[in-house]
Symmetry: C2
Subunit: 458 residues, 2 copies
Amino acid sequence: MKNFKIGLLALFCNISMVSFSQESDSVIISKIYSEALSNEWSYRVLEQLCKEAPHRLAGSEGSLKAVNLLFKKLQPIADTVYLQEVMAKRWSRGKQEEAMIISGGKSRKIPALSLGGSISTGNNGIKAKVIEVNSLEELKKFGKANIEGKIVFFNHAMDPLDMSPGRQYGKNVWQRFSGAKEAAVYGATATVIRSLSNSLSEYPHTGIMRYEDSIPKIPAITISTLEANNLSRELKQNPDLEFFMHTWCQSLPEVKSYNVIAEIKGSTLAEEVITVGGHIDSWDTGEGAHDDGAGCVHSMEALRLIKHLGIKTKRTIRVVLFMDEEMNQVGGKKYAEWVKFRNENIYAAIESDSGGALPVGFACSANEKQYAEFLKLKFLLEPYGVTRFRAGGGGVDIEFLEEMQVPLLNLVPEPQRYFEFHHSANDKFEKISFRELQMGSATIASMIVMLDLKDVFN
Amino acid sequence: MKNFKIGLLALFCNISMVSFSQESDSVIISKIYSEALSNEWSYRVLEQLCKEAPHRLAGSEGSLKAVNLLFKKLQPIADTVYLQEVMAKRWSRGKQEEAMIISGGKSRKIPALSLGGSISTGNNGIKAKVIEVNSLEELKKFGKANIEGKIVFFNHAMDPLDMSPGRQYGKNVWQRFSGAKEAAVYGATATVIRSLSNSLSEYPHTGIMRYEDSIPKIPAITISTLEANNLSRELKQNPDLEFFMHTWCQSLPEVKSYNVIAEIKGSTLAEEVITVGGHIDSWDTGEGAHDDGAGCVHSMEALRLIKHLGIKTKRTIRVVLFMDEEMNQVGGKKYAEWVKFRNENIYAAIESDSGGALPVGFACSANEKQYAEFLKLKFLLEPYGVTRFRAGGGGVDIEFLEEMQVPLLNLVPEPQRYFEFHHSANDKFEKISFRELQMGSATIASMIVMLDLKDVFN
């Protein structure tokens, strides 16, 4: 009986300690959200980034302005700030593209954007008939006989009924990424790609494409979803209509560029590092507000919140703002090489690269035991609407750390309107909500603090 | 045993019928969402409303332009469209307000808006010392001795940590609604109200206020949350600073205005009516995109979706676009009177007046049995993220129907960023996402069709 009583007592003590610790966890988190939601520092950093350095393709003038700006903004809130040199291949759009649908003696100009990495049309532009294609099977079926000398128009739409826009992007991105080389096999002169958006709008959405050395290179442009619908309809009425495009884009020599890194040193486990980041570079057509100015300031604000609130983490917190996510990922690769070379212990890596909308969840890639511990944090963030905890975390920049068995996480913002902004001129500061952005930063800061405090990945 | 077998068979038949019926329900709903997400008609109606008739306070020129525009847009999609006359009291802001903080020999202009219904300051404006007040208890404690001749600055902030911004609005709206008359009791010369927003921004947010006949009328203006924070800080440094305000607003004679009503006739129960609506009028400072252009086009698009998809509802579907929600609710009152006079059977009334963001739920006020049936619809909308089904539905315009025991419903859009737009110049068409808006319309159309098809409120 005595033993039983002691056992019971121990059990009670245990429960009481757990509930005390839970209470203090939620108090810490509420302090983080409270500070984030009543301070506009990072929102103004984002505004400045968007307005002073809007076009930030790797190696561009805008990207270097952004490096300088973010470096300066990090100095007052971090213990150390430094630059990590990378060599960035450049690609430049040149003058604004011309695109035109010519049908029945009439021509109509439409907005268009060269895809990143595309060659230009040359001085005379390209004028040709158009063949609409919705799958690789269809392309193959049409074959050289129907395609040679024509412009291939890839028009498979993202299914708007799919409530996972990211999945739809994944299913359809082959058109943008590989459409030109696939069409060139059959002798196409150029490609026109339906923009990757699940909304109807007048904005073309650009993004990276790739050639293959053994296949002729042909120019690739994208047109808006609305104009893709129009072109498809007009083709049904007049299969002989012609499309004219004139583009000036080109690849340029490599230049020096930088990751921007800032740290606050851990107290007792300083050699263990929690990395949190977004990417500095952005497409050259908008301001890169959602993609990925938001991720940069999410990370910076998370650092500021921890420092400002006097939260002493055991581990070192390191913000890494990566260069060149959009084209060649030299920043992500360089950071991973450097970590490997120094044999660093990265305790966890978090990326925010899905926009600045309301945070609704976290994704995590880790081993089974670590993932189970990660799931236990869910109840702490649920009061803030962050309820979707799932497997499969990562991010283009941090995935190079995976071979070192680093647990990878990413913030999941509400995804429904993301592809209205993504890679288009519509990705502007004005499309970011103060409250939604700050909720995202608070969510990341809370995750960092809890990973550290509760030794989740031990 | 035989009986048991028959019983089992009957049970199987039942299950199979139920699952067939569920399948066809979900097929209908997916058709509704699919059409909504690939048609931009209502988004363009909203754009036109916002750009051609942006300032739509009841009785204003903008409000009458909007009546004409919406009437015309409804004609091709409804069986009948008609106007319902109302008499609208007018209030006009006049010239742009001047507001200034004068401290230590320096003065600084800040943005300000008169509250709706306020008197003006008169030709010379008002300059006085300021006393900051955060509650009625504090006001009473300061008393006449500290308040007389001063401007009372009501600065109680909406708590940003509250994840229900609507609840925070409810808790704090007394400052805007009654602040002036409360302060006037103690001899204040004017009031300055902190804008009702849970975000930090430079936009003042206006809204209706009321006087009481037995209490002197004093002018009331609102300043942005950022400037309210500044003023509060500056007052701590210099309690003797002065505030200057000059406003030109006035009440004007009543004018004729209209509710706009459109119907499609039911097939077998045409005398039963499902009402769906939003309000036409908006504050005079923005474009009234979220409040409540979105609600108007949600309702119009719901009608279009039902008609376009050839869904034959048993009951009559009636869109009611109300006039004057913001000031005196003459449209809502008139509609309820008319329904009562005609002894109509309103089967359900739905309002959308919480903005055009992503739909996340539905609220419903009905009797216990009806509410239980309403909850059974939840699983049909969950695949679209519409998961929050709760009690307490209504809306300022449809609540006048409550005495007739009409079940009242309202769409619940994601609320976090709503108070960044509400009643401010920031409430613009550009702040509406196509996809989020269309999801809202599809959600309402689906609710209407299911209420009718499944006789939910019988």
